[in-house]
């Protein structure tokens, strides 16, 4: 407000998914590029990372939620104001994938306060290729069905972790309504703006 902020946009991202799919590891890999066995998250964890993507200085506030059912009512409140939601599953555990479909995707629809909030489907632990039970095609199909971005990655081996966040942020940068919200200097006159378009484009990339 008073002087120029040190970033162009502030985006709030949210990690959701069953417990043990590696949400915290993913976040740790992204924010400090390390990997270690982490204690299960209690409730919620939170990290901030400054990045420059698409020529814009961005401050990412990433909320990492606990997957336990008991915390679900609590985490529902963290959906508020999130521009991006990352739905994580474990490619070696099918139930984590089906739960995304049956539970988590519905939670997003229910609690997200952003109409245009970008969803991203992430299959983690691709390093355990031999134990894989959820195929990439299944992931792509689900992503297309529910209008998400899709990526498979491994927090352990770093594969695709950076891309995961980058893709998501680029998509947010492409969405005017989200951009306006995250902007540090909000533009007002919507009569001069075009109404936001809601294109739920699906992209699969690896």
């Amino acid at each position: 407000m008073d002087n120029r902020p040190e970033f162009d946009y502030l985006f709030k991202l949210l990690l959701i998914g069953d417990s043990g799919v590696g949400k915290s590891s993913l976040l740790l890999r992204f924010t400090s590029d390390t990997f270690e066995e982490l204690s299960p998250t209690i409730g919620v964890d939170f990290k901030v990372k400054m990045v420059t993507i698409g020529g814009k200085k961005l401050k990412l506030a990433i909320w990492d939620t606990a997957g336990q059912e008991r915390f679900r009512t609590l985490t529902s409140s963290y959906y508020r104001g999130a521009q991006g939601v990352i739905m994580v599953y474990d490619v070696t555990r099918r139930e984590t994938f089906t739960n995304l479909k049956d539970i988590w995707a519905k939670e997003v629809d229910l609690y997200s306060t952003n109409q245009d909030c970008i969803k991203m489907l992430v299959g983690n632990k691709v390093d355990k290729e031999s134990e894989r039970v959820v195929t990439k095609k299944e992931g792509i199909d689900f992503a297309r069905e529910s209008g998400c971005l899709f990526l498979e990655c491994s927090a352990k081996t770093r594969v695709n972790v950076e891309q995961c966040f980058e893709e998501l942020v680029l998509k947010i940068l492409d969405t005017p309504s989200l951009l306006a919200e995250g902007s540090s200097s909000v533009k007002k006159n919507i009569f001069k703006q075009k109404p936001p378009q809601n294109d739920a484009a699906t992209s699969g990339c690896c």
Binding site: E37, I42, D45, G67, S77, V186, Q193, P195
Partner: protein, 946 residues
């Protein structure tokens, strides 16, 4: 002076014209030397030159050169040129159509009067330029007409040309058309403005009038046969709703509140009584009635008797029915300020928001000393009686709301306001209509409102219209969230009080723990459990040490002997078939505390706190830790012999790993797997695991005995403090959001049938509102002026949608049994209205009226006919019926007839009817007649062989 200037101008224009002409003439052949010509000849060639130019250009080029379009629905255009003859100036206009099908469509509505009268398509109209318009005496008119006729034949044009004659009110014309080499058509139109002869009021007489135009010689023409083509168009108007039926009184309640001018006083028949908005205001019915147009397409009449029959024919015999709603004259422009609607009140609320920045507290607006400006002091506040009534309405304990109904419109949720039925939304709606919705009235209402809320809190009375289902909807506005939280706090407070009263027990835990089997307030519940555990007791005799498993009443006494730590407390029932790891007991899920609820500002606080710690610090929310610890304590209490692993198996099943192949050789005891197989996941079993640390320090305590995660007394007080010290602009911002949303929610409940455009429009309105109102929640109100402007524009958008919706509702209920028709008419109106909606400027109201007639299908005719109830005795004596062609006893307001007679000129005689196909048929006579019993217009065109 003016005249002189005008003349000069005209001369200049003429010069220009002449220049044009010279160019034209050079281009065109047939250049004549007119140096010696008379002024009349010069005039003719002037006309000729202009016509040649127009002919050469053709419609497309004329359009490019800027021809005027005459109204949007038809494709009629005109170009004009001014001419001078002697001392007089004339204006010659050429009317033409673009992409016309070539055929004149019968009874097409967008025909020019002359097109309709004479059955022509394109035409020339030449009239003197004078202040009074069209005044020509007969000689001047015929001279002018012959000049044009000569000019037109010189350039080989077959355009008909018309000249007005007589007094303008007569709408009389004469005209001529050169139809190729052989024929000429002459036109004549006149009008009788009053005292129409009785004969001409009836079809029979009109028929004879037509016949008389070509049967000069025959004495008794009634006996002879003429095949006269006849078509007729009748226009009926639905009778006005009888004003006398309405009950006077029932004055809008707002009147008494402030006596202001803004109340509309038409409270006779409230057509919208059951529309959702009628709770707040009465809208004028936008549809005054309908016009029914019945068209008899061409039929052949051979004698006047048939005409008499046609006059008595039922309207149902007409080939075509068209329906046109009669709308209230465009309510734009001047009448605007008087119209009361949600939009008008929202506008006032936005004004109040603008003022609200001036003071620190709401009280400042009503206190005498602090009122900042004088004009604020004089703003009226409704009297206390009204205030009382509003508060009663808000706080009266009506039916309890079990859930807020969901708007049909998905985007409603995108607006950060309170749900429609909720207390704050109702407060906002009342505020809109409280007095003149000025800041002082709002302040008065708010202060009393908060006082009432405090009373509910102090007295532990449930807040009306609020849910206590334990969750807070963060997509709503903060005040609503706070009230939600307060309602929950009151609920909890009441429960705590109750518990205190029954401190001797009564809850399940107390019952079991203290072993009062006689106290059976919840015994049925327990009995069920007993049944299931009895079975268990039979086969589990080995290790049945734990008191908690001994649920049967006979064994309860032994429970007392056990040490308290061993006693099961706070169980919510067994978990499936799960057994504890280290003891042969079924696992019980504990009663747990509700997850603490938070309003968005509390979340914000946490977020800020977390951000303050920065990135380096691995953060785990204290609140969630408390919840987890509470769960662990409760679990320990419910399962006294449980270990950490048991807790994980219940709480985080994903961290309990079992190998698939172990399933086969596990020990199965009477259906239960015991001991349970598996181990903790790696991350759970590591040394410094925070979960295990927490487990180790959590005491075994049932939820009922734990420190509450939410302290209702403390939180409730905080909320009241918030409400009592809320900054005026913060209140008004939230009120504006909620009022917009609630108003739209109210309107969108209107039933208007299946009108897709309306639905889309409402959806769009929600979107527009959401995107503008969003800026109100932003903490930085950088540009207040711009924001207020945006909001005022939003009010205009709202007004358009509101008016459209009222129309849709009115249309829907009037054509309830003909949904297709109401849909079609609405679609027409929507397309007509839409271009007007975009422009928020009100100044240049388009005078054009809606005139799209919608064909009525035969299945819908009865519905339409029902709109014309037979007139009551009261109505029928008022009118003298004289025309015939009655429809359910109603006379047409307008009757139009076209007679035409065809002949093949080859045989040279009238009245003979040779085989048509062989000869070229020509319309020899055509007569257009329109009017009522006291106004008759007739236009005749006669083709003759020269």
């Amino acid at each position: 002076m003016k005249e002189a200037a005008g003349k000069e101008k005209r001369e200049e224009m003429k010069e220009e014209d002449e220049e044009n002409e010279e160019e034209t003439l050079e281009e065109l052949e047939g250049f004549d030397d007119f140096t010696l010509a008379s002024s009349w000849e010069r005039f003719i060639s002037e006309i000729e030159a202009v016509c040649r130019q127009w002919l050469a250009d053709g419609p497309k080029n004329l359009l490019k050169k800027g021809a005027d379009c005459l109204g949007s629905p038809n494709n009629l255009y005109k170009v004009k040129s001014e001419l001078k003859y002697g001392m007089k100036s004339y204006c010659m206009e050429y009317f033409f159509e673009i992409s016309g099908s070539g055929k004149v469509v019968e009874w097409s509505i967008d025909l020019h009067n002359l097109q309709l009268s004479f059955g022509v398509k394109e035409f020339l109209l030449i009239a003197p330029i004078s202040a009074s318009g069209v005044v020509l005496d007969a000689p001047e008119a015929s001279k002018l007409l012959s000049a044009v006729a000569i000019a037109l034949s010189n350039c080989g044009s077959i355009w008909p040309a018309f000249v007005p004659v007589h007094d303008p009110s007569r709408e009389a014309y004469i005209g001529i058309q050169n139809m190729g080499t052989d024929y000429t058509r002459r036109f004549e139109a006149d009008r009788i403005g009053s005292q129409v002869p009785i004969k001409l009021m009836h079809l029979e007489g009109l028929y004879e009038l037509f016949i008389s135009k070509f049967v000069f010689s025959m004495v008794d023409f009634s006996a002879s046969l003429f095949k006269v083509h006849f078509t007729m168009k009748l226009t009926y108007r639905t009778p006005p709703y009888d004003d006398d039926d309405g009950i006077q009184g029932g004055e809008s309640e707002i009147t008494e509140s402030d006596g202001n001018s803004e109340v509309d006083n038409h409270s006779k028949t409230q057509w919208d009584d059951d529309c959702p908005w009628s709770e707040w205001y009465t809208a004028e019915d936008p549809i005054k009635g309908f016009e029914l147009i019945a068209i008899w397409s061409s039929r052949i009449v051979e004698n006047s008797l048939e005409m008499a029959e046609l006059e008595n024919a039922s309207c149902h015999d007409a080939e075509k029915w068209l329906l046109l709603p009669i709308l209230t004259p465009n309510s734009n422009a001047d009448s605007k300020d008087k119209m009361t609607s949600f939009a008008s009140q929202l506008h006032l609320l936005v004004n109040a928001l603008n003022v609200s920045f001036e003071a620190q507290f709401m009280e400042d607006f009503i206190s005498v000393e602090k009122a900042s400006s004088d004009n604020l002091k004089s703003t009226p506040i409704p009297p206390p009686t009204v205030l009382d009534r509003v508060l009663k309405d808000l706080f009266n304990e009506g039916e309890k709301i079990s859930n807020y109904s969901k708007s049909e419109y998905q985007n409603s949720r995108a607006i950060k306001g309170a749900p429609f039925e909720s207390l704050f939304a109702q407060f906002c709606l009342h505020s809109l209509w409280f007095g003149s919705c000025n800041i002082r009235a709002i302040a008065t209402l708010w202060i009393e409102f908060v006082r009432e809320v405090r009373w509910c809190w102090e007295e532990s009375q449930p807040l009306p219209s609020m849910l206590t289902n334990g969750s807070i909807d963060l997509s709503t506005c903060l005040i609503h969230q706070k009230l939600q939280m307060l309602a929950i706090c009151i609920d909890k407070k009441v429960m705590v009080d109750k518990d205190l009263h029954k401190s001797s027990g009564g809850c399940e835990e107390g019952l079991q723990f203290k072993g009062y089997p006689s106290q059976v307030s919840e015994s049925s519940d327990i009995d069920e459990k007993c049944d299931s555990s009895r079975q268990e007791a039979h086969h589990g005799s080995k290790i049945n040490k734990s008191a908690s498993d001994l649920k049967s009443k006979s064994l309860l006494k032994s429970t007392k002997i056990e040490s308290p730590a061993q006693v099961r407390r706070g169980s919510a029932g067994v978990v499936g078939s799960m057994m504890l790891l280290n003891s042969y007991q079924r696992m019980h899920a504990p009663d747990t505390q509700d997850a603490p609820i938070m309003t968005e500002d509390m979340h914000e606080e946490r977020l800020q706190a977390v951000e303050a710690f920065g990135n380096s610090f691995s953060f785990s929310a204290q609140l969630e830790k408390d919840v987890l610890s509470s769960d662990m304590s409760a679990f320990k209490a419910a399962n006294p012999d449980a270990v950490f692993e048991d807790f994980i198996r219940w709480h985080s099943p994903g961290d309990w790993e079992r190998d698939e192949n172990e399933d086969d050789d596990k020990l199965r005891v009477e259906g239960y797997d015991w001991p349970p197989q598996g181990r903790l996941s790696q991350r759970m079993s590591e040394g410094g695991n925070s979960w295990r640390q927490l487990w180790n320090v959590s005491p075994a305590l049932p939820a009922s005995e734990q420190k509450p995660l939410l302290d209702p007394n403390r939180e409730g007080e905080k909320i009241l403090h918030y409400l009592e010290t809320l900054r005026p602009h913060q209140l008004l911002e939230q009120m504006v959001c909620t009022a917009f949303k609630a108003s739209a929610d109210n309107l969108s409940q209107t039933s208007f049938g299946d009108l897709q455009q309306m639905r889309t429009k409402i959806e769009q309105l929600y979107l527009t509102m959401a995107s503008i109102l969003k800026h109100l929640q932003a903490n930085h109100l950088k540009d207040k002026g711009e924001l207020i402007d945006d909001l005022k524009r939003l009010c205009l958008v709202f007004e358009h949608v509101e008016q459209l919706l009222i129309l849709a509702a009115s249309l829907h209920r009037k054509l309830l049994s003909a949904p297709r028709l109401s849909k079609a008419i609405f679609a027409d109106y929507y397309n007509f209205y839409l271009p007007r909606m975009g422009t928020s400027s009100v100044g240049n109201a388009d005078e054009k009226e809606f005139n799209v007639r919608q064909p009525v299908r035969s299945s819908e005719r009865q519905v339409v006919a029902n709109m014309f109830p037979p007139p009551t005795a009261n109505q029928s004596w008022r009118k003298v019926l004289s025309m015939g062609n009655l429809f359910n006893g109603h006379e047409p307001i307008y009757r139009e007839i076209i007679f035409s007679l065809y002949d093949n000129f080859g045989e040279g005689q009238y009245g003979t009817s040779g085989p048509r196909s062989n000869h070229r048929e020509i319309e020899t006579h055509r007569m257009y007649i329109c009017g009522t019993s006291n106004d008759l217009q007739a236009a005749l065109s006669v083709t003759s062989c020269d």
